[in-house]
Amino acid sequence: MFGQLIVSGLAVGACYALLALAMVIIYKTSEVLNFAQGEMAMISTFIAFTLLDTYQVPFPYALAITFLFAIVLAIFFEMVFLRQAKDPTVLGLIIITLGFEMVLMGFVGWKWGPDQRALPFPVSNIEAYTFYGLIISKINFWTLIVSLVLMLILFLFFRYTKLGIAMRATQQNQLAARVMGIRTKWIFSFTWAISSMVGAVAGMLIAAMGVLDPPMMMDPLLKGFASGVLGGMTSLPGAAVGGALLGVIENLFGGYVSLSFKSVVAFAIIVLMLCIKPSGLLAKHYVKKV
Amino acid sequence: MASILKIENLTIAFGGIKAVNNVSFEVEKGAIYSIIGPNGAGKTTIFNCISGIYPPNSGKIFFKGEEITHLKPYRVAKKRIARTFQNIELFSHMSTMDNLMLGRHIHMKTGVWRGATFIYKNSKAAKEEIEHRGKVEEVIDFLDLQAARNQFVINLPYGTRKLVELGRALALEPELILLDEPSAGMNLEEKGDMIFSIQDIRDDLGITVLLVEHDMNLIMDVSDRILALNFGEKIAEGLPEEIQRHPEVLKAYLGEEEK
């Protein structure tokens, strides 16, 4: 059982990690906690659903159109709402994302109704691979692969292009960043677009593993957020590590101690970790110097 | 006169770099004592150690004969040591008045219950508040801050903000005040005023001053004694005239030619 718990822990962890990644990308540039992340992913998934189910669009095309939609949606939100805020406080920005979350949630409910659906997906969520007696469903396996690859690409991209540093610079001091010639507005749009795409991937995978309905991202998003914090909100590898850790810890706790406190324990552990390392596992703690 | 502050073999390192290395000095009560040294010599770090923001790796700090080495900053403040900061650290969304009132924090007692429930002018909380406002008003007069009294400090000019910060430190009624580059960013006129203010603080209020500055005119005008640091180490200590001529100080800090 131990091995199986770890394997399925890693599999969920991968989803958490993707969402954490999406949140971290945005937080890295603008210090905004994007609570609309889940709903953005959810609406993208519904678009994919409509394409696949109603219009019978072949999967690769549907995927491409969905990504396009995710990008447009994110850029729209960033430009039309966030950017227009005058003298925004961090909290104000959070509330804007919360408002946007409601708008999206309402829109999806209005358009598609509240019923649960199944997202047609090329990879089965029931068939499984077996390695040395450990069972991992095809979709979980591919989720792991996809998130690892995505993580690696993003990590390398941000590490080895100037852009990665520029993103952090933008978060820390927008004025100075602009004075360096960093096109902060462009960076914002860009990161929102990337993040929304990563979110859409997560959304589709989560829907394919379970059920597609408007509230489907509420729990995963929280866990994703928790993973991001656990790993350190400014660290991409942190998001991956945080997600995997959270998934595994949760599963082990659920398996051996108590299922009913499973989801709470995740938070308890995070709080304990934060007491020791206040900025997450992989981010350096900064104390302002006077 | 007895020494009010005594530092013994203070050492602190950040990841291998010794920011302050085995520095000892004593400040006499009622003196204006200056610390000079090139950028990154460890002056601010010494201040941070005294006020408890950084715990030193080794060495001891005594205030009025009592050891304060590992006290938390607020406990140090309670011993009546106040300070200003190199990059102004004011409460920017409070008025000047409230900034200074915060300086009175340690002298006041009102807690949550009393604060939330006082009703009339003679309630304890109100009385205390009024009394301390009176004190603050004295500080405001002392520094000529009347014009800024009710403004949010975020809207004040740089020079005035520096004064407010000084005022906040004075409001604490300290016995020792640590001033970190009080005249940086000021124009000549304001620098001149600052010289008088520092002297007044010592002469009128009887507060011992520990000063870090890069403006040599100011240093020479006000200091009783000067400590010169370089790379965290003491290179010289003495009267202003001695320091001014000290070869190492000249080399590391003042620049050799000129004058």
């Binding site: 199986q4 509240p114 019923d115 029931i126 509420m218 949760e250 299922l259 | -």
Partner: protein, 368 residues
């Protein structure tokens, strides 16, 4: 003297139900009732009075439900509340409605709260979950011969009453429940839960959860090759939906039912389906949509029996005369002033691989 919400031509009635938020799928019930109202009005109403129906969205938040109840009584002035989804939500309104003598027919949950203690103006319809679970365990154990039974339930009042019933039966017959696994309503990862169930070696698993939970646990179980006989409550009797969201795993499920099957030839069902085409063609003809009819039928029957002289008291009297009344739901009987639990029957069906349902029993009485 005037009766609140009743005029010469009109009777005002109201219902709350989540139309938004996570519980919104259940909100279909409230819209189903609307269909019945439209149909009745279309036929000229009852005793010359047509119904005016107020549907309010409470998003499954108790504070809102109470506000709606107050609006119904103080501002709109309804004659009665019909249906109403949710326990926690309904409980904030129950006492208030009763104090104000507002008739309440057919709350949309099968819990004890509605009949314990007996409320004079509250007539429950939904068969009790507890009894349902008790009986279902018996069915699995006695009729189908399963010895090792496990339970998977949702961590809320609904799931808990299911557990109560199952455990009550097992205790009575001195059998041990091999495993009892619960999930939060919001949980989207049930892999550990499935693993625990599998490790228990259960032959049959009774499931008391919402559609999402059911789909997830079936998926996870299939993944790890755990294939017991599943059985579940009437809340999951919408097999068309379940078939779709479980991607076919629903086949073989044993379900209890509180109403006719969606494609039943029952004459009333035929009539309702026609009305559905006429008045609300956009709605999906799902079990919970027409459940809105099931839970409201007895109320209207009461109004019919009360006659033209409709008052709160006359309605209560009329309701108490209902014996073996059957619409498309279970037979309804209110045996006097001590009995406010109308529905006491369910029937069982087994889901065929194509999603259609094989009715394996007739209506079975589950409440003694």
């Amino acid at each position: 003297q005037a009766v609140r919400g009743v005029t010469d031509t009109e009777i005002l009635i109201g219902q709350w139900g989540p139309q938004t938020g996570p519980a919104a799928p259940w909100g279909a019930v409230a819209r189903g009732t609307d269909l019945l109202v439209k149909m009745i009005n279309d036929q000229g109403g009852i005793h010359g009075r047509k119904f005016k129906y107020f549907l309010r969205d409470d998003s499954y938040m108790p504070a809102k439900t109470k506000a709606i109840a107050k609006e119904f009584v103080e501002q709109i002035g309804v004659f009665a509340v019909v249906g109403g989804v949710g326990v926690a939500t309904g409980m904030t309104a129950r006492d208030y409605l009763m104090e104000n003598k507002v008739p309440w027919g057919g709350p949309v949950t099968g819990v004890y709260e509605w009949i314990h203690p007996i409320q004079k103006y509250l007539f429950a319809v939904y068969p009790l979950y507890d009894d349902e679970a008790f009986n279902m365990t018996g069915y699995l154990h006695e009729k189908l011969g399963f010895k090792k039974i496990a339970m998977f339930y949702q961590n809320d009042d609904y799931g808990k009453q299911g557990v109560m019933g199952v455990e009550r039966y097992l205790l009575k017959h001195k059998i041990k429940l091999v495993e009892k696994v619960s999930a939060e309503v919001t949980d989207r990862d049930l892999s550990t839960h499935a693993l625990k169930l599998k490790n228990s070696g259960a032959e049959a698993v009774i499931m008391w959860t919402n559609p999402t939970g059911a789909a997830l646990i079936l998926g996870e179980s299939a993944k790890i090759g755990f294939k017991p006989q599943w059985a579940t409550s009437s809340t999951l009797s919408d097999s068309a939906l379940m078939m779709q969201i479980t991607r076919g795993l629903w086949g073989g499920m044993i379900t209890s039912f509180f109403g006719e099957l969606p494609d039943s030839n029952h004459p009333l069902m035929v009539k309702y389906r026609e009305a559905h085409k006429k008045f609300a063609p956009q709605e999906r003809w799902g079990v919970f949509y027409y459940a809105g009819i099931i839970f409201a039928e007895p109320f209207f029957e009461g109004v019919r029996r009360a006659g033209r002289n409709l008052t709160t008291e006359s309605w209560v009297k009329a309701m108490e005369t209902i014996k073996d009344f059957q619409g498309i739901g279970p037979p309804i009987t209110y045996a006097g002033i001590k009995d406010r639990q109308g529905g006491k029957h369910v029937f069982y069906g087994k889901v065929r691989p194509d999603g259609s349902i094989e009715r394996i029993t007739d209506w079975i009485r589950i409440t003694k």
